[in-house]
Assembly symmetry: none
Homo-oligomer: 409 residues x 2
């Protein structure tokens, strides 16, 4: 009679604003998307602020909120999520950074922030600089995709309130890491020691000698940024009583899933890019529902088209996603509550995340059905779920599937 499992389809950055070239429709309004609209029609809809009114959500903070974790309480920076995304489990007390392999000249000026978008040899470079120790602090470094990497500091007395070493622009000087709070002096000192020492080691590495011989910019330094520490958090299953699995192409979101204790489902062809195999993601989600109570799938493509300012591309991506939704709905067991939502809007007119509310629609047995018939930014605002916050999604979903806590007698 009621659902007892949940499938969350998270359409990254899908909501938008009226687009002049689309006759002042939003891409969601302009797209042909019968499957999504059918979900809105046979279910309950709303719009919501994912974090709070007037806050532009990041991908990481938004996903924390959508899984029921207040980002103001649990988030201090992107580092630990990136680290988790490449398989390093941060502990409470660790400080983690995102890094780039970059190219600097002899004056420590940044010649190329991405070292020619280096793709090969980064595992070898990472191996050469990981495992150092400064002032009693252990340093772990691991390569991520392409020119990216992750730095994790572990030991007593660390604090994430430090400035970036990465100057964030080409031809600028490498920055000293500065403590932004007196408690962070040790952290800054260790970061500076690591940057100096790794520069010395990388400059002489075999990988860079070979790059030089091919006229490629050397990956001769690592530039940390985005320091963060992981606040103690209760895993999703312990907190909400649901065994959860997550599917995502991008490493940052894999990191969010890992940190919350989701099982990561690897899907062949799920890249986190525009070329991602959406059908494969949908089928993997259906399969994961066999052994999980909640499966969350992030579909990154609409966000990419938003960042590109590509309104036609966004419409096309929405229509491809609709096909995936239609395939999923066809085979969805009748005890699964389907929840479609987004982590934030990425309007093509802004080429960036915005504070505009996102759409949510749920369908499944036992749900109160409203009269919303379309899944878009305006139609959903007139549904029964309107006015929610992102952090309320999981509690409300628990309510629908009869797993919410009773308070009182």
């Amino acid at each position: 009679m009621i659902c007892n499992k949940v499938l969350m389809l998270i359409f990254d950055g899908m909501p938008d604003r009226p687009v002049e070239e689309l006759g002042f429709s939003t891409p969601l309004q302009a797209a042909t998307k019968p499957a999504m609209d059918a979900v809105a029609e046979r279910g309950a809809s709303g719009t919501m602020d994912v974090i709070a009114p007037g806050i532009v959500p990041g991908s990481d903070t938004a996903h924390l909120a959508l899984f029921g974790y207040d980002p103001f309480k649990y988030y201090s920076g992107r580092g630990p999520f990136e680290a988790a995304g490449v398989g390093i489990d941060c502990k409470h007390g660790d400080v983690a950074f995102r890094c780039n392999f970059s190219t600097v000249d002899e004056k420590m000026r940044v010649i190329d922030r991405r070292a020619g978008r280096i793709k090969e040899g980064t595992a070898e470079l990472a191996k050469a600089i990981t495992g150092m120790k400064f002032d009693g602090i252990e340093v772990t470094f691991k390569e991520a995709t392409e020119h990216r990497g992750v730095l994790v500091l572990r030991g007593e007395g660390l604090d994430p309130r430090v400035s970036d070493v990465d100057p964030h622009e080409q031809y600028a000087m490498v920055q000293e890491c500065r403590p932004l709070s007196p408690e962070a002096k040790l952290t800054a000192k260790v970061v500076n020691s690591f940057v100096r020492e790794s520069h010395r080691i990388l400059a002489e590495s075999q990988v860079n000698l070979e790059r030089a011989s091919k006229d490629l910019p050397p990956a001769n330094i690592v530039l940390p940024r985005g320091a963060g520490a992981l606040n103690r958090l209760e895993r999703f299953e312990a907190r909400y009583g649901l065994k959860a699995s997550g599917i995502a192409g991008v490493s940052l979101l894999k990191g969010v899933f890992r940190i919350l204790g989701f099982d990561l489902v690897d899907v062949k062809g799920a890249t986190g890019g525009l070329d991602t195999d959406m059908s494969a993601k949908g089928q993997a989600a259906l399969k994961a529902l066999g052994s999980s109570d909640l499966v969350a799938v992030n579909v990154k493509a609409p966000d990419i088209t938003g960042h590109d300012g590509d309104f036609a591309g966004k419409v096309a991506v929405i229509e491809r996603i609709d096909k995936m939704v239609s395939e999923v709905v066809k085979d969805l067991p009748s005890d699964v509550l389907l929840v479609m939502l987004s982590d934030h809007s990425t309007p093509v007119s802004m080429r960036n995340h915005s504070a505009d509310p996102v759409c949510i629609a749920m369908a499944g047995k036992g749900l109160r059905v409203d009269s919303t018939e379309k899944f878009d930014e305006i139609s959903c605002a007139f549904g029964v779920l309107d006015g929610m916050l992102g952090i309320e999604v999981v509690p409300r979903v628990l309510g629908v599937i009869g797993r919410a806590e009773k308070f009182g007698a």
Copy 2:
């Protein structure tokens, strides 16, 4: 592609309740107001509780909320806002009071709370009693409009939790100022000293001798009320990154603007009364948009008709304001987001502020447009902005113009 400036038109006390004499329409529903309705039609609308459900907003607390400052945190009494309105900048630690020049008899009974609505000579009276010092506390007194004045105490150890000296009714005795908290003993003592000493000085003043000769009641005492201290607050521009200007006829609202660091725009003919020159206010606002990111205009007239219980007058005032809106819209640059809203409802049936929600409508490039077609208390409740709080207006506006902060990555 998106707006980057903001014009806020604040229609003071405009929302109302169904009025029997208007066929149970509200004045907003009964008025012919094509310009306001057009804004609602081409934009997004809602109704909102300016402070919180069931809280009747004052003008000062409401405006604080509408500019993004939680009045529960920043407001302790009207005094500092009145003081700012007459040009006295309170510092953190000062305690300020609104005052009346009043007439007392020899038993200290209040014969006339407004000293015959004295209009002339108050500057001279104020000069005679300002600059005193009691227990190390400096006392500043300044006249305001008509019988009104402002008292500011400055020094160590002050606290605003004291009772009013003004008994608030005719023929009652002047009250001792009592500390309402042990920390406020010094403040109460200084207030009582000031009231006694100023009574002695005023009673013998030349102004009052002349009034006596004309059979006018003497302004022979000052009665403080509404003690307040100014909590530290960050100026609007520092807090939100928008350079702001404010236009208001009434002194209290000028005070709010000053305290938040708005540029005050003086408009000839803008009186804060029913005779105010609305066109001039609208034109001044358009001009101020040249050098400001946000311009706020308070139009007081609808509140006055509400307090007067004058439903026909309220309809007429709304129609006059609609003309102003039409003039403004005609010349509004296309990069300006227009926001129409109110600080509170002032129903003619209550002759006072009420806790009823107010209407809000925004229009401008990039905004998601809903199907609301009228600017009134019922139509707006079905718009996409419904269910807001006053304190969310500025964050949401920042979101629309792409100036909201990103949280996370």
